[in-house]
Amino acid sequence: MENQIIETEIIQLTKEDFSSDQMVKWCPGCGDHAILHSVENVFPNLGIRKEDFVVVSGIGCSSRFPYYMNTYGVHSIHGRAAALATGVKLANPKLSVWMITGDGDCMAIGGNHFIHTIRRNIDINILLFNNKIYGLTKGQYSPTTPKGHKTKTSPQGTYERPFNPGELVIGAQGNFFARVLDTNPKGMTAVFMEAAKHKGTSLVEIMQNCVIFFNKAHELITSRETRDDNQLQIEHGKPLIFGKEKNKGIILKGTRLEVVTIGENGVTEADLLVHDQYEKDPGVHMMIARMMPPEFPVALGVIRSVAAETFEQSMMDSIAYEKEHSSIKTVDEMLNSGGTWTIE
């Protein structure tokens, strides 16, 4: 009763194989366009047949994404994409399942499914478009809107402390977390490739810009003037260095991180924290994910990538074991199991 995947030769695919014939209706200048292009660049290069991709979304601007990809896809209901993706992946673990979501969809209405999907470690790839605002409903604050920011539902500024997606992911025992900018196509492509290859739930936070309702939300990190001091490209095995002069770095001092300047107070590059994305202990990853201006630069790149058993693998192993060891092999045997009696 398993779904059959017809095995065929992997053919060479191109970006065109994944472009749908539907008109893309995002606002001109929206960060979503760049994300769509990066995904179209990644899919042909994963060695996966085009009919084995399923793209799932919830509701919001970002969630129109599946209509613009020529794959199997479901545009579901607000907040529930993670649950739908779970059903797809469990029903057929051979599929490559991608979930597209936004900050409101994922962390407000869909918060519960989000943390539980991560906790279970189901092998789906989640692209979280974080523009820190509700765009489709025209400008209300979201769970990631900075405290004090004025929106249509916070005319005096929000009172709420925002979520940092990385904290939630790692707090929910997540094993893969990366952060990228929608203005960096190369960075996105590289990170999406890594996310795709990671077995288990992978979460990529894309700092995406809504040109209409919260333009320049990430300006501090993206603008030419300030970005060098406010972003840090992290790379596995490399020290955490940033700044226009590449002379600033992060050290681990006691139980917390600290920004230092190389050459000052006797600090050398050798003193800097070296990034280990494969470290199982989430402590340092959590600290890196939490880094925010003005005290720290924002870390970009793969922050955490740890191999762990996936939910669907455990489920399939359990099914295989029971099929082998149960004395009941057929539905008729089940119906006739236990206490029965015959009337002659």
Partner: protein, 615 residues
């Protein structure tokens, strides 16, 4: 071991009620007695009656747990109205159950528990066995606790373990009373507690002690025997509604060739379906316990999109939470079965009591125009066939189905004739073929109006579905006004055309009967019992019991039109009758409703129907 010291009297049918504190093991006692009833060849039905608290304060009325069995030499349709025999392990269980006992019934008490402290906890001002409260009953006071302790003295058990076996003493007495062989129960213990021989020995010793006590002390002048019922040839088992539901889906998966996926969240009284399916990984069943009701149904929709026979199971409060997602399944035109094991509402309501009050929610409880097929199981064993039919209709017509069962069916059990899977109807879902050049997501079958099911992984069928309105045919997102109206009609028409694929409504009794009794879902057993009884008395009464609610069988209007006097009986405040009034306003309906968290009694219905006949 069988009884020898008393005269055996033959009975046609008997109702026994076992009652004790919720920790006294009354459910097990009842189910073991059911097993021996099956072995004796009787037809039977059972019903557990337990509090929603796992362990309410010991000895109080709110902590009483009961189990009723009705068995007979004729076909048994219900778990019985009033008991012929009550076993009461303490004063609270006597107090809680006196209203369920027939006049002149036999009441077996543990006299060790009938002491001042017990009376106080139960709220008795005086000893009910001495103050005349039990006049007119055959009361048998046995020192169950003392004799249990005595029976296991040689095993050197701690007090807690010892007291846990006293239900077997009570069972031993009842087994003697009905001339049953206790060897069957010994075997159960030997198998179940293989790893713990001390438990086996203790229970066997106490069971035998109870049996011998009844025999040697001659507490019964007579013992009783119920001859085997004339059941059709075949192999039988006892089955609860929830297990039958789970098995119906497993059988449907087998017959459709589609893998079974359940997304569910625990909720009383539906949880056993999730548990049962979780236990069948051996048959490749995927049962996913989700983080909430919404994830339960939405994961099932994901699995359905991926080609599974997808189901979700819940009760009323969970159905409320699933409403939006049912709309998604309606819009995406995917197969999905939603089981609602109804309980008393609204809100948390009466979680362990049964009701039929989710019908209107099932019919109308969604945003927009969102029609679904609705079926209602009529008995515990029928849950198997209802789950099977719900799956068949959902898969073949590509639309969600709500299957309504209820707490009584779910927890109650009855005799089930075991079918052969190969004899069940074929299920043929409309799968799209790989690389079909003409494939369009919303192209429809001209007869059923169902669209084709294109499963991810299949080459040449990539497509997107979603909650936004779809253009007919292409399935592209469409905000076109006329398209929306067309699609609304199509979704409605698709469900209405299911009437061509379900049986016509049958009637039990004469087509020109003076009084037509109408009922639906889980009340079938008691309705049939009453109508059968009144027909035997020569009364002009017929029964139309509905299982197909949406759409209604095609002949419904014609059938109702033949009767001037129609009474619609429901365990709610009149929901099906509203639906009939809406569909067939030309007829006059009377109604009989009970909203007490309790099933109908034969006697109350009989009184009502006689009253209507004499009007």
């Amino acid at each position: 071991m069988t009884s020898k010291n008393s005269k055996v009297i033959e009975l046609e049918q008997v109702v026994i009620r076992f009652a004790g504190d919720s920790g006294d093991g009354m459910q097990l006692t009842g189910s073991l007695f059911s097993d021996s009833t099956a072995f004796a060849g009787n037809d039977f039905a059972t019903f557990p009656d337990y509090p929603s608290e796992i362990r309410a304060p010991q000895g109080t009325v709110s902590g009483v747990s009961g189990f009723q069995i009705h068995f007979g030499q004729k076909t048994v349709h219900t778990s019985g109205d009033l008991a012929d025999v009550l076993i009461a392990m303490n004063p609270a269980s006597l107090k809680a159950n006196m209203r369920w006992v027939k006049e002149g019934a036999t009441i077996i008490l543990d006299s060790d528990a009938f002491v001042e402290k017990g009376f106080e906890k139960a709220g008795y001002k005086s000893d009910p066995t001495l103050d005349g409260s039990l006049d007119g009953f055959k009361v048998i006071k046995s020192p169950v606790t003392t004799l249990t302790k005595e029976a296991v003295k040689h095993l050197d058990l701690d007090m807690k373990t010892t007291l846990k076996t006293k239900n077997m003493f009570a069972l031993g007495i009842v087994m003697y009373m009905f001339n049953r062989d206790i060897e069957l129960i010994n075997k159960y213990y030997e198998k179940k507690f293989k790893a713990n021989p001390l438990v086996v020995d203790a229970n066997k010793a106490v069971l035998a002690a109870g049996f011998n006590y009844a025999d040697t002390l001659e507490i019964f002048v007579n013992t009783y025997k119920v001859e085997p019922a004339p059941l059709e040839k075949g192999k039988y088992r006892n089955i609860t509604g929830n297990v039958a539901t789970a098995w119906g889906f497993i059988a449907a998966a087998e017959r459709s060739g589609r893998p079974l996926f359940l997304g569910s969240y625990p909720i009383t009284p539906a949880t056993e379906i999730l548990q049962e399916l979780t236990n069948h990984k051996n048959l490749s069943i995927k049962a996913f316990q989700a983080e909430d009701e919404i994830a339960g149904i939405v994961s099932a929709i994901g699995a359905s999109y991926t080609g599974a026979l997808a189901i979700t199971t819940t009760s009323g409060p969970g159905l409320s939470l699933k409403s939006e997602a049912i709309g998604l399944a309606v819009m995406t035109e995917l197969p999905l079965v939603i089981v609602d094991v109804q309980r008393g509402g609204p809100s948390t309501g009466l979680p362990t009591k049964s009701e039929q009050s989710d019908l209107l929610q099932a019919l109308f409880g969604r945003n927009g125009e969102a029609p679904v097929i609705i079926l209602a199981a009529k008995s515990s064993a029928d849950c198997f066939y209802s789950a099977f039919e719900a799956s068949k209709l959902s898969l073949e017509h590509m639309t969600p189905v709500i299957l309504l069962t209820d707490g009584s069916l779910a927890n109650g059990s009855e005799v089930f004739k075991i079918p052969r899977v190969a004899d069940l109807p074929a299920i043929v879902p409309p799968l799209a073929e790989a690389n079909d050049p003409d494939y369009k997501p919303y192209r429809r079958d001209p007869e059923r109006l169902s669209r084709k099911w294109a499963i991810p992984g299949t080459p040449g069928l990539r497509h997107r579905v979603g909650g936004l309105e779809k253009e007919d045919g292409s399935g592209n997102v469409s905000h076109d006004p006329l398209n929306h109206q067309k699609m609304t009609f199509l979704r409605e028409e698709k469900v209405q055309r299911v009437a061509n694929y379900i049986p016509e409504q049958t009637i039990f009794g004469s087509e020109d009967a003076e009084l037509l009794v109408v009922s639906w879902g889980g009340t079938y057993g008691v309705m049939l019992t009453v109508v059968e009884k009144m027909q035997e008395q020569g009364k002009s009464v017929a029964l139309a019991h509905f299982k197909h609610i949406m759409p209604l069988p095609k002949n419904t209007e014609e059938l109702l039109g033949r009767h001037k006097n129609i009474v619609v009986c429901e365990i709610n405040n009149g929901q099906f009758v509203k639906y009939l009034r809406m569909n067939f306003p030309q007829f006059k309906y009377q109604q009989y409703n009970k909203i007490q968290g309790l099933p109908f009694m034969v006697a109350e219905l009989e009184t009502k129907f006689n009253e209507l006949l004499n009007q």
